[in-house]
Symmetry: C2
Subunit: 181 residues, 2 copies
């Protein structure tokens, strides 16, 4: 499991509450590792039990108390151990591919519409990534260390979305030619 490790990386960049982490997982780090707030609270509790993080309770007025989590030395050690580990590429599960493969058992036009929906989604996502790149990494060749690594991950997102977008276009063109309306 890498959720713990994704949290360690994120908390090392900057300490935060479960709530804040949940929002980071809705963007930035969440672009390549999805997690809901329930998963995050549950995992933070476990990490606290393991002493990978320390929690500092902060009272606030007019707001519920919050727990600010920080990575502990043990947590940093665990992260280093995990970074040295080898692992297999993620097993993929693409609903859309299953739908395309089964298209002729149902209504191929409905499947083509679904592909078009996904195309729009990937185009939007790609725009978001490119906007982030332009804003946060205007001069990529000057990057080093952590900033370089952050940019490289973003580059992965851009490449993946580009490939998905091209694929959707290829599928749509081929299906349109197979069944011109």
């Amino acid at each position: 499991m890498a959720l713990e490790h994704a949290i360690l990386v994120s908390l090392d960049e900057r300490p935060g509450t479960g709530y804040e982490l949940a929002r980071r997982f809705d963007k930035s780090i969440g672009f390549f590792w999805a997690a809901t707030h329930q998963q995050i609270y549950r995992t933070l509790k476990r990490m606290d039990d393991l002493r990978w993080v320390t929690a500092e309770e902060v009272a606030q007025d007019g707001r519920p108390d919050k727990k600010v989590y920080r990575v502990s030395p043990e947590g940093r050690q665990e992260l280093q151990r995990w970074l040295r580990e080898t692992g297999e590429p993620a097993t993929v599960r693409h609903d859309l591919a299953v739908k395309i493969r089964g298209a002729s058992l149902g209504d191929p036009r409905a499947v083509a519409e679904e592909v078009a929906r996904h195309r729009r989604h990937h185009a939007e996502r790609l725009d978001v990534y490119r906007a982030i790149e332009k804003k946060d990494f205007p001069d990529p060749s000057a990057l080093h260390g952590r900033r370089l690594h952050q940019h490289l991950v973003l580059r992965g997102g851009i490449k993946a979305e580009e490939a998905l977008l091209e694929w959707c276009d290829e599928v749509l063109a081929a299906m349109r030619e197979d069944d011109p309306r």
Copy 2:
């Protein structure tokens, strides 16, 4: 959940046992939908209860009895219903991206080695996909219906692996330049 639907698509192409399905999920359909034999047996039982498939027990000599599953009319209906459904793109979880983003908190060279391992994996996978394309789809422009859809899914796999391969190369080049040995 789409495992049921992936099984329906696969069984519609050709009936088979849980064991056979498990092996199909090690290749072809498994390239874009992973499943273990335990998941498949469990799911087939549920699908049998729901009457989406019918099981025919076949006695064999020298071999354990087997159950050959076929898609039922109800199963075909369920598949058609699902094909008309809309869904969101799969939520991704890339360990490797988390490792790259955290590289500077550990040993960046160890992470680079891990990227190189993944690069080899993707290169192999791409070779496999291209070999299948050459063998099974020598004339893509002549394809229609089911065969066309099968080819389009394979194209998705090829595009995804190409993108991952390029990304690994980009990451390796950038990390090497950042930390020349």
